[in-house]
Structures are given as structure tokens and as C-alpha cells.
């Protein structure tokens, strides 16, 4: 039994992990940077320790600091959350060498699956279908041009060490290839210190479907069905749901079998996710394996009733899985919306501010995982994800209805968020029908003229907004005609207005 678990992360995921750690009667400890002195994860954990710094490199990416702190505070285990060092094989190796348990897979597995080309080769050899393209990393343009002729346009150039869309370029014709190849290599070098790339055939308008798996250290493997993550913008997920609305039973059976095969191929243990592309003809292609807890894990928890963090901790304690495939049942439908501090009208660039008011929606079938509260400073240092809003219902329609109302009731002041963009998606007819793929936002949203998307289904709200704006300005003018204007009060906290 672990007595103390160090959660090496911040924001909503650190808060969420602390809750399960506390529920298991263990002590939850977190680290916080100078920018996170009053952050929510310090309030939800039993103990919190300063690691200083503002930028991730000085804080949440510092391997030596976390291991020395873990030893000093006598932590039995480290949970890395997602992002930061969670998929860094060197970090995991350092934890393994320190004698502290790592709540996640082995460094060896992470190393293999982290290198995209190695993972592709391994999957190919075990009979898991991969996206057609090159297996070995390429660095010369001449070689790339020769190979691309065999694959056929359109293609994607991807970084071998890649992730998060960095070092990834879409090319539709040979004339664009030279520039894109050099650009992908430059991005890859900057982001991953490795400029090798590989080339994949571009699958037209695929779905991104991933399978959650759990495995213990005794060779037991189960899957917890799939998640549909096709609602993406520049390879960043925006809305996820489980189960997928487009999989028939035969395809579901096939994709979960491939996922288990993939996990077994790399000797996986702990919680992991096998990401696949599924084309219009239900062909499945392995994309990559995420060797950690996923951001969107709550939708799986909602449809299976299984606490994934709890399972992760037990697996790290060398326990055998109590779950068997037969007693994992899929029930109802769950949707997650990621509330980001970002501006849909300005290329989705991050917004900043101090949270001055925050009221979460509540009601039947709602779950909110949040990393902010009153007074939280949302700055430039970390990921702009504020809250994950999840709705559960007996079927997809009821989950969507609950989500629509929940988004309307999410109140936040002090900074601008993507809430209305999420409302636009949730109310889109194609989304409601489940008819979407990974290029949905680019094709349906980004092609709209500016402000057009804001006019959908908002007639009554628009009337109230008009009334509020007029009455508010009128009251101010009436007051300032009598009282002297206090200029120091003006615009002392805003900043998102042009």
C-alpha cells in the first residue's frame, strides 16, 4: 500500500488525481511553481511543496527537482498526469532508478512507443494495420521525394519523435513538397531536438478513434471501449465522446482487438490509449499509443463506472486487475467539452486574465473537472485548458441536451473563453447527427465569414445582450452626469478588448 503519492502536475488533472488518492486513504502531495502559488491543485492536496520557477522548464519539467523532492518528502509513488514529463522515458527511468514507484508504464515501453517510426515498425510486424507510408526515418530530401512517389499524394510529413501537430505538414502536390519537408524538419528539430521525419499517406477525412486499455504487471489485459476524438483543431482535441457514434459492433470488436494486440506487443502495463484513424469504409489504421492517462479519460469513466486513476495506482502497487473483460459494461453515452482560455475569433490564441467570478453548472449527469477557481491567474506559462465539462445520459441525444444546458450555465468572468464556440459545435446539425470527422472544424467553422458563427440560434440571447448593453451604458451616462467619473476605476482588469 502506498502511504504517500506525489502528483507531479498542475491544473485540473492534478486536482482530479488528488481526489482519488485521498479517497484511497493515501496522502496526496503536489509540487507548485512560483506562478502557481495559489493554484487549485495546492488546495485540493494534503501537502504541497514549492519547486520555484515560472516557465515549465524551470518547474514542471525539472527531473532532478521532482526526484529529490519525492525522496525528501518520502513519497512512495509518483503520478505524472498527462503532458509535461509523463511520456518522457528518461524521466521514468530516473524514477525507476530512485526506487520510487512510477504510476504508469515502464520506461522501456514508453521509449519504444514514443518514437513514432519504432512504434510503426513494431505494430506492422505484429499485424496491427498502420497508415500506409514509410517505416524508417528519413532525413534527405532526395530520398523523401523518391519514396513519396510510391505512396502517392496527398501525404503527411510527420516528425519521428513527434506529437501535438509539431513537425507535421500536409502536402498535396510535388511542387509544395520541398518547402514542406524542410519546414517539418525545422519544426521537429526545434520541438524534439531530432529532425528525422516519416511520410504517411493522407487518409481523407478520417475519424480519430482511440481505445482505452488497462493492463497489470501479471499479463492481464482489458479494454474499456473506445472514445471518439474527431472534433479537433490543428490536432488538438476539443470535444470527445464515448462510445463513438459511427462504429458498428463488428468494427468496435476489431478496433478493441487491435488495441489489445498493440498493448501486448510492447509489453504494456498500467493505463494506456491506442489511437487509430478510421476511414469512411471502416478501415482501421494504428496511429500511435499514448502511454499515460488521457485528458479525455472521464468519458470512459462515465460509461463504464470505473475510476481509471484508482486502477492505475493499484497496478503500480503490483496488484492483479480485479476487472475482467466480461464484467466491463458499456452503459449510456458521455460527452466532454474542453473549456479553454482562448479566442476563437483570433486564431484560437490563448487569452489571459484573473478569474473574478466562477460558477459551475450542476444537475443530473454532469461532471466537472476543473483547475481554476476565484482568483486564479490564467497566464501565459501553461496550457490554456481551464475545465473539462462532461455530460452523461442514457443515450447520445440526452448527453448532448445536458451538455447544451450545462454550457449555458457555466459562468466565468475575468477572461475570455471558448464556451460559445463549444455551444456552436454542440448545436451544429452535423454534430448532432454524429456526422463529423477530423477536418470538421477546418471545413465547417473556419470557412465561415467573421462573426457569422455567432448568429446561430442566439436570437433571444441577442435581444437580452442588446438590452443589457443599452441599459448599462445608459445607467453609466446618467450617473456620470451627476457624479464625477472615477478614471482610475476604468478598465483596470480587462485587456481582451481591442
Amino acid at each position: 500500500m502506498f502511504k504517500k503519492v506525489l502528483i507531479f502536475n498542475r491544473g485540473e488533472i492534478a486536482v482530479r488525481i488528488a481526489k482519488t488518492v485521498n479517497e484511497l486513504g493515501m496522502i496526496s502531495a503536489v509540487l507548485y511553481s512560483d506562478a502557481d502559488r495559489s493554484a487549485l491543485h495546492t488546495r485540493y492536496s494534503d501537502e504541497s511543496y514549492s519547486i520555484g520557477g515560472y516557465y515549465p522548464a524551470e518547474s514542471y519539467l525539472d527531473v532532478d527537482k521532482v526526484i529529490s523532492t519525492a525522496k525528501r518528502i518520502k513519497a512512495d509513488a509518483i503520478h505524472p498526469g498527462y503532458g509535461f514529463l509523463s511520456e518522457n522515458a528518461e524521466f521514468i527511468k530516473a524514477v525507476e532508478d530512485s526506487g520510487i514507484a512510477f504510476i504508469g508504464p515502464s520506461s522501456k515501453t514508453v521509449r519504444v512507443m514514443g518514437k513514432k517510426t519504432d512504434a510503426r515498425r513494431l505494430m506492422h510486424s505484429k499485424g496491427v494495420p498502420i497508415v500506409p507510408g514509410t517505416i524508417d526515418p528519413i532525413s534527405s530530401l532526395e530520398e523523401a521525394k523518391r519514396l513519396v512517389l510510391g505512396i502517392g499524394f496527398p501525404v503527411l510529413i510527420k516528425a519521428s519523435a513527434g506529437g501535438g501537430g509539431k513537425g507535421m505538414k500536409k502536402v498535396t502536390k510535388m511542387e509544395e513538397f520541398d518547402d514542406a519537408f524542410e519546414s517539418a524538419k525545422r519544426e521537429a528539430l526545434k520541438a524534439f531536438k531530432d529532425d528525422s521525419v516519416f511520410i504517411e499517406k493522407l487518409i481523407e477525412d478520417p475519424r480519430h478513434i482511440e481505445v482505452q486499455i488497462l493492463a497489470d504487471k501479471h499479463g492481464n489485459y482489458v479494454h474499456l471501449f473506445e472514445r471518439e476524438c474527431s472534433m479537433q483543431r490543428r490536432h488538438q482535441k476539443v470535444i470527445e465522446e464515448a462510445p463513438s457514434s459511427c462504429l458498428d459492433d463488428a468494427t468496435r470488436k476489431k478496433i478493441t482487438e487491435y488495441a489489445l494486440l498493440a498493448a501486448k506487443a510492447c509489453g504494456y502495463y498500467n493505463a494506456g490509449t491506442v489511437e487509430c484513424l478510421v476511414d469512411k469504409n471502416n478501415n482501421i489504421y494504428f496511429l500511435e499509443m499514448n502511454t499515460r492517462l488521457q485528458v479525455e479519460h472521464p468519458v470512459t469513466e462515465l460509461i463504464t463506472g470505473i475510476d481509471l486513476v484508482r486502477e492505475q495506482i493499484f497496478i503500480a502497487m503490483d496488484r492483479k486487475l480485479e476487472l475482467t473483460q466480461d464484467n466491463i459494461k458499456l452503459r449510456g453515452h458521455a460527452i466532454e467539452c474542453r473549456i479553454y482560455a482562448e479566442d476563437p475569433d483570433n486564431n484560437f490564441l490563448p487569452t489571459t486574465g484573473k478569474v473574478m467570478l466562477h460558477r459551475l453548472p450542476s444537475g443530473p449527469g454532469l461532471r466537472v473537472d476543473r483547475g481554476i477557481d476565484f482568483g486564479s491567474e490564467v497566464g501565459i506559462y501553461y496550457d490554456p485548458l481551464l475545465t473539462k465539462l462532461c455530460a452523461y445520459g442514457k443515450d447520445r441525444t440526452s448527453a448532448i441536451e445536458r451538455m447544451n444546458i450545462a454550457l449555458s450555465n457555466y459562468l466565468i468572468a475575468g477572461l475570455y473563453t471558448n464556451i460559445s464556440f463549444l455551444k456552436w459545435i454542440i448545436n451544429n446539425e452535423k454534430f448532432k447527427k454524429g456526422d463529423y470527422h477530423i477536418n470538421f472544424i477546418e471545413k465547417e467553422f473556419q470557412s465561415l465569414p467573421p462573426n457569422e458563427w455567432k448568429k446561430h440560434g442566439t436570437k433571444e440571447a441577442e435581444l437580452f445582450a442588446t438590452a443589457f448593453a443599452a441599459i448599462f451604458r445608459n445607467n453609466k451616462r446618467t450617473q456620470s452626469a451627476v457624479l464625477p467619473v472615477n478614471h482610475s476605476e476604468k478598465n483596470n482588469w480587462g485587456g481582451n478588448l481591442e
Binding site: 501537430g165 509539431k166 519546414s183 525545422r186 519544426e187 526545434k190 520541438a191 490543428r234 483570433n346 486564431n347 490564441l349 473574478m356 467570478l357 447544451n404 454550457l407 449555458s408 450555465n409 457555466y410 459562468l411 466565468i412 468572468a413 475575468g414 477572461l415 475570455y416 464556451i419 460559445s420 463549444l422 455551444k423 467573421p450 462573426n451 455567432k454 448568429k455 442566439t458 433571444e460 440571447a461 441577442e462 435581444l463 437580452f464 445582450a465 442588446t466 438590452a467 443589457f468 448593453a469 443599452a470 441599459i471 448599462f472 451604458r473 445608459n474 445607467n475 451616462r477 446618467t478 452626469a481 476604468k490 478598465n491 480587462g494 485587456g495 481582451n496 478588448l497
Partner: protein, 167 residues
């Protein structure tokens, strides 16, 4: 004092007349209203038999950003007189702005593919801006000739800075 307002609500033109402390007319239709300030950011607004919670997200002079029922509304509230004045200004501003391409984000100019005098097609990439470790193509908004380029390779640019002009 004039109580007659022209309001731009997410680019939709609306007209409102605040008739009294509990009557308002919007686009010619009259409503009973009640506005309660719960705190500096949170308001309850009644129009006839319907109440909405209104979040005042941001405010600056005659601009107000509102979060209402899950939608953000960017409102520009002008009195009739202010509206007349800004219309005159905006016509000449628009003519000037049409040809300018501004930086959508702070970043660094990685590569410039065109030089003054070159012709460009609508959607053709003119330069590459690197921001947040990603390379972004900055494309021409319409076909024409590059009039001038105001930035140089390897140098940082602020959000909103003029990158190049097209004629």
C-alpha cells in the same frame, strides 16, 4: 440627454431606446425591464416574463463584452451622435485597411517568400510566421501586387503589426 442607442452586437446592428427606469424599446418593440446588479460581474436581467443571468466579462468605454446563455456578445454601444461620427471615420479607415495584412499573433518572421512588386494570388503564401513553435503561412487575402513588406526575416513582430500591403 439622448437615450437613443445604436448597438453593434456581434456585427448585428440593433437599436434601443431606454424610455424610463423600467421600459425599453428594442428595434421598435417595447419591453418591461428590471436589471439587478448582484456584483460587479453578475447581473440578472428581466425582459417582461423572462430572466437571464448576464456576466459582464469586460468593459471599456462604450464597448462591453457579455457572456449570456453560453454565448459571448461583443457590444459596441453608441448614442445616435457618436454613431454618426464613427460612420464617417470608418469609411475612410476601411479604405486604408483593406490593403494591409496584419500579424494575427505575436511571433517571429521565419521566411519571406515575396518581394515588393511581385504578384500574388488570393490565398497564396507570402511569408512564414513562427509562433508557439509552429510555422504559420501568412496568405494574401486577395490577388494583386505586393506594395511593400514592413518586416524582415529573423525579426519578431507584435500582434496587429502591419506585415505587408497589397494593391
Amino acid at each position: 440627454m439622448s437615450n437613443d442607442y445604436q448597438i453593434d452586437v456581434n456585427s448585428v446592428e440593433k437599436e434601443a431606446i431606454v424610455i424610463s427606469s423600467d421600459r425599453i424599446a428594442i428595434d421598435g418593440k417595447e419591453y418591461f425591464y428590471e436589471l439587478i446588479e448582484n456584483n460587479k460581474y453578475h447581473y440578472s436581467l428581466r425582459l417582461n416574463d423572462r430572466v437571464y443571468e448576464v456576466i459582464k466579462v469586460d468593459e471599456n468605454k462604450n464597448k462591453i463584452v457579455i457572456l449570456l446563455n453560453g454565448y459571448y456578445f461583443f457590444c459596441n454601444v453608441e448614442t445616435r451622435l457618436e454613431n454618426k461620427a464613427s460612420r464617417i471615420v470608418s469609411v475612410s479607415e476601411k479604405a486604408k485597411h483593406r490593403s494591409e495584412v496584419h500579424s494575427p499573433m505575436p511571433g517571429m518572421v521565419l521566411k519571406i517568400k515575396k518581394k515588393p512588386g511581385d504578384s500574388v494570388d488570393h490565398g497564396e503564401s507570402v511569408l512564414i510566421l513562427e509562433a508557439m513553435k509552429m510555422e504559420n503561412d501568412i496568405k494574401s487575402p486577395f490577388s494583386g501586387f505586393i506594395k511593400d513588406i514592413n518586416v524582415s526575416e529573423g525579426n519578431p513582430v507584435e500582434k496587429g503589426a502591419i506585415l505587408f500591403r497589397i494593391e
